[in-house]
């Protein structure tokens, strides 16, 4: 099966809009899970799109462009991976396996877009010296072009030659490599988790990390992720109330309450592992 003209144009426009969403409102269009779902919807296999998108989403949870760093383009990866999985009819795991190298390959397009914008910055700098505020405004808006084209072009080309690409992949990639990529897709969410662990103060609040793990691992049947989040919220709320009370009662600094029972009144419990 090859891709319809409508789906091709829809997905090309979609990734352009999604990039603008990532830069501004962050409604969600930019996230791999939306990308996979949109692809699945327009190509008539929502389930495959959702699974490919969700797996890539989990892998990249902690990966964000902190301070303008460039990260692999897993949105385009998710769109193309889902599309190739649906075209070939070989299932979500196949799509995930393809999406990873695609996302890595497209990393360079982000750098190219950010470099191109330097041209508009230089224009704007010159116009500012003349006091031309309208010109400055205009040059900021020109930035839309590199941002969107850097996503739309590779997705259009990739999907246009999609069925040929899929055939070539199937002919050339050995079975063990595809099995390996599929397994990599299963364990890849560990990356998103590990980055979040690096970013959050795990050394200070590690008991809550253990609590979440235990609830979910041992009580799989009675707990969902949302349920665990609510338990986490309870402890967070208790902590904030406690800290505020402490702040109002005296100048002593806020104290962490790193106890599973959450109601201990230990003073100055600082845990550093």
């Amino acid at each position: 099966m090859s891709i319809s003209a409508f789906a091709l144009i829809f997905l090309t426009i979609y990734v352009g809009l999604a990039q603008l969403d990532a830069l501004s409102l962050k409604i969600g269009l930019f996230s791999p899970v939306f990308g996979g779902a949109a692809t699945g919807l327009v190509m008539g296999d929502l389930k495959t799109g959702l699974i490919v998108g969700a797996t890539l989403q989990l892998a990249t949870l902690g990966v964000a462009t902190y301070g303008g760093a460039t990260v692999p383009d897993f949105l385009s990866g998710s769109v193309m991976g889902s599309a190739f999985a649906i075209m070939s009819g070989r299932g979500a795991a196949y799509g995930i396996g393809l999406a990873i190298p695609i996302g890595l390959l497209l990393t360079q397009m982000d750098i190219l877009a950010r470099m191109t914008n330097t041209i508009f910055q230089h224009h704007a700098d010159r116009l500012a010296l003349e006091g031309d505020y309208k010109g400055v405004e205009r040059n900021n808006l020109y930035g839309i072009i590199p941002w969107t084209v850097s996503r739309m072009l590779p997705v259009f080309v990739g999907l246009f030659f999609g069925s040929a690409v899929v055939k070539a992949i199937n002919a050339w990639i050995p079975a063990w490599l595809m099995t390996g990529l599929k397994t990599a897709g299963i364990i890849l969410p560990a990356m998103g988790i590990a980055i979040l662990m690096r970013y959050l103060p795990i050394k200070r609040y590690y008991p809550y990390f253990i609590l979440g793990f235990v609830l979910m691992a041992y009580f799989t049947k009675s707990f969902s992720l949302l349920g665990t989040a609510l338990v986490g919220f309870v402890f967070a709320a208790i902590h904030v109330m406690d800290a505020n009370e402490r702040k109002n009662n005296g100048p002593s600094k806020p104290n962490d309450n790193s106890n599973d029972s959450g109601n201990s009144d230990d003073e100055e419990v600082e845990i550093d592992v």
């Binding site: 949870l61 964000a64 500012a128 959050l200 041992y218 986490g232």
Partner: protein
């Protein structure tokens, strides 16, 4: 907003500043001044109102506002608010130019530290993990969660803008205090979810059996007796550890995980090959 006393800026100006800030801050992002161009775009409605008929001041303001700038977009509203409120009250002169430039560069760093933790790391950990978890079980309804989250964040961003407008330069110290406690609470919630995600989303099961006499043993069910989700936990902790090593970043970690996947995915074949050698 009623208690806010601005001289020249109208309510409409403030709305325009907020919208241009949300939509335009990062459009011109470049390696030279990062959000500098977008920042100038964000405050443009204020500059137009204040210096439209004064080319000298307009030039001075434009050059100052287009300096290097980079922070978490959600936090930028605080700085933009303080910036335009100060210019509304004091106008533009050499002294005020220095004061505002100092405010911008002084606040963008600390605000990015807090903002990246709250609006990026913790927000993504909670919102997108639940969405992806639902999507994995074929429930597209979860896609609504980020949309609702976005609306809530938009409200927070508008409030931060108000705080910036009202507080001016004082916001640096007073706001950072209450923010610290909030960040601690949010970290607790985030870590609970992160811990739960390991068994929830890393669905790897060892597909390996071996024979002792006539009994076939399944390695995974033996591991489950020690602790459920032992291998996912091990992979997550290993990834956490290796990310802390020198010369390691998330893109390189992908290659490490692909390599582990290659080995785990072909375990049966690898053991078969070793067996044939013995």
């Amino acid at each position: 907003m009623s208690d806010l006393k601005l001289n020249k800026l109208t309510k409409k100006d403030l709305k325009h500043i907020f919208i241009q800030n949300v939509l335009g801050l990062q459009l011109g992002w470049n390696y030279e001044k990062m959000q500098g161009l977008g920042y100038a775009y964000s405050v443009m409605p204020a500059l137009k109102r204040l210096y439209k008929d004064d080319p000298a001041k307009m030039k001075q303001a434009l050059n100052m506002e287009m300096g290097f700038f980079n922070t978490t977009p959600q936090m930028a509203h605080l700085i933009v608010g303080a910036d335009v409120a100060l210019q509304d009250q004091l106008g533009m002169n050499d002294e005020n130019e220095k004061a505002i430039a100092g405010l911008k560069t002084g606040l963008m760093g600390p605000f990015a530290g807090v903002g990246d933790t709250i609006f990026v790391a913790i927000y993504n950990a909670i919102i997108y993990s639940i969405t992806a978890y639902l999507a994995l079980s074929n429930q597209p309804i979860g896609l609504l969660i980020p949309v609702v989250g976005c609306l809530a964040i938009l409200w927070v961003r508008w409030k931060l803008f108000q705080v910036g407008l009202a507080q001016g330069t004082r916001l640096a110290t007073t706001f950072a205090d209450s923010m610290a406690i909030f960040t601690e609470g949010a970290s607790i919630l985030g870590l609970t979810v992160v811990g739960a995600m390991i068994p929830a989303v890393i669905n790897y099961k060892l597909d390996l059996t071996y024979k002792v006499g006539k009994v076939t043993m399944n390695v995974q069910s033996m591991l489950d007796k020690i602790m459920p989700a032992l291998i996912p936990l091990a992979i997550a902790l290993f990834s956490y550890w290796i990310l802390g090593r020198k010369h390691m970043n998330s893109t390189r970690l992908i290659f490490v995980l692909i390599l582990i996947g290659m080995v785990l995915g072909n375990l049966g074949a690898i053991f078969g090959w070793i067996g044939s050698l013995v």
